[in-house]
């Protein structure tokens, strides 16, 4: 099994046309095959960070490195076999079936003129089994529930067999049951040597599955490191600008809002 490459962001600056800097001399080291949660207020640049790691947005200065090599050195197809994306609430205007949609994740392994082959179908089917959604494979994706849809998005990204998986608020619209299903799938991925990075607004989600936490505010990293060291009352209060208390309950941190 190929190890997940080591992901490093070094002094990344990014701004949209005519805008203020969204990412501001941002540096970050991500431990391979671990789960990293990115927390921060709205507009902190979390989604921009994911899109920059993906290579979709090009930093104006600084670099995103995989094992020390700038991702701009990689070809599109190389990159697409290394990094997968689960966007937040992908709007899909056409009624693909679940299986067809997951097969789209095999595109990095297909030529520009090719159709999915038997091995691609097998890969897609095994993702269905992995996430226990084989029973909905012929359903149209627009008719799925929110939880099923998120699992299908995840399955599509996994069919890509990425070594780094980026997820933008994967649990935002999910109930507790589906949240745990998704987070368990992420834990499982990290055990299979995949680096997982996701954004979230819910510190409790980070506590459930993350190894590292990155706190982002106004385009730069406020602090980053091991979960237990970063998710403290002082840090979270500083991050969100309200009094937040972190207590230990049954050996785990619990986040309490001010009352």
């Amino acid at each position: 099994m190929i190890d997940a490459p080591k992901l490093t962001l070094s002094n990344v600056e990014f701004c949209y046309a005519q805008g203020a800097a969204v990412l501001n001399s941002l540096s970050l080291d991500i431990v391979p095959a671990s789960i990293t949660a990115v927390l921060g207020p709205n507009g902190a640049g979390k989604t921009t960070l994911l899109n920059t790691v993906l290579g979709f947005l090009k930093p104006q200065s600084g670099a995103v490195l995989l094992d020390g090599v700038n991702i701009s050195q990689y070809s599109r197809s190389q990159l697409s076999r290394l990094i997968g994306l689960v966007p937040q609430a992908e709007h899909i205007p056409f009624n693909f079936t679940v299986l067809e949609y997951i097969l789209l994740g095999r595109t990095p392994y297909m030529g520009i003129f090719s159709m999915p082959q038997e091995k691609d179908h097998q890969a897609a089917e095994s993702m269905l089994d992995l996430l226990h959604i084989a029973h909905i494979k012929q359903r149209p994706i627009t008719e799925l529930s929110g939880g099923e849809q998120q699992l299908v998005l995840l399955a599509r990204a996994l069919a890509q067999q990425p070594k780094i998986l980026l997820l933008d608020e994967p649990t935002t619209h999910l109930d507790l049951g589906n949240t745990v299903v998704i987070l368990n799938a992420l834990k499982d991925l990290a055990r299979r040597n995949v680096t997982v990075i996701f954004t979230t607004h819910d510190p409790q989600v980070a506590i459930y599955c993350a190894d590292q936490v990155v706190l982002m505010k106004q385009g730069h990293v406020l602090s980053a490191g091991r979960l237990q060291e970063i998710l403290t009352s002082a840090q979270l209060s500083r991050l969100y600008g309200v009094q937040i208390s972190v207590q230990q309950v049954a050996g785990r941190p619990v986040v309490l809002l001010p009352r």
Partner: protein, 340 residues
Amino acid sequence: MIFIFPGEVRLKNNRLLVLLVFVLLAVFCAAIFIGRYPKPYWMPLNLLLHESLAQKLVFSLRIPRLLMAMLLGMSLAACGQVLQMLFRNPIVEPGFLGVSQGAAFGASFAILFLGASLLHVEIFAALFALLGLALSFAIARLVKFGGWILRLVLSGIVVSAIMSSGLGILKYLADPLTQLQEITFWLLGGLWSATWTDVLFILPVVALCLTAVFLMRWRLNVLSLSDATAFSLGTAANRERVFLLVCAVIAVAAVTSVSGIVNWVGLIVPHVSRRIFGSNAQFSLPGAMLIGAIFSILCDVIARTLLAGEIPLGIITSFLGALIFIILMSRQNLKAASHD
């Protein structure tokens, strides 16, 4: 609900496509015999075998016209599907991006100032259709806001408006007894002027463009996703989208130069095909091309046969297209029902 294995779905869709090829062949062959010679509606095989006038009629008029109808339907349907998927909007049609209005302006210009020779009309229609496309892309680059798709849509609307106001001026200037009639007839669409020369000119262009689109039909699925997702799957999204758009629209510009404005085929046929094959362009794109060809041939047969005089093709396609659209809209769960 019967459990369908994916292999069976693929097999079923492939069989349906083969079936459609045979339907197209059957319709094509039958249409050779349908017309108003020697008397309305049917030419006996015997006559075709023995009478030279009948042979001449079939080989120099009906067959090139049928081929033209086939190319027309295939191009409009393929282009409609490409535009609908790339713009992520199921109600887009090939005339978008200034192409139809550009062709209309070019043809009218030729009718007014170049004496309405067929060749001039066709050349100018094709040139201005491509000019409309080029202008749409150029103006899209000037727009300072919005994503790539929104910018193209906006500039397509603008270019269409400019072209149609130009067309308005030409109509105003035209001699109402001769030129205006010709312009109007051209705008209603028709294949009465199709010759072997047209077919031989247009066939390579259409074949090349549609082959490219056909080969990239899996890519088309991916390119219908959001920009970041399409990127994450390894596509050069904008470059590939432009390539597909240009291929699809050039095919339409080529056929439109002969046919004039034929509405509704490019809008309705991709919908029908998605109802039958599902959204996956791997099947629904070739499906749309075949259905488009069959639909156009049938409409053109009606156009040239129903009355003693020719009915403009665009009238037939609009009327039947709108009827089909009503049926589709009122039977929303046709696809769901087929799974039960």
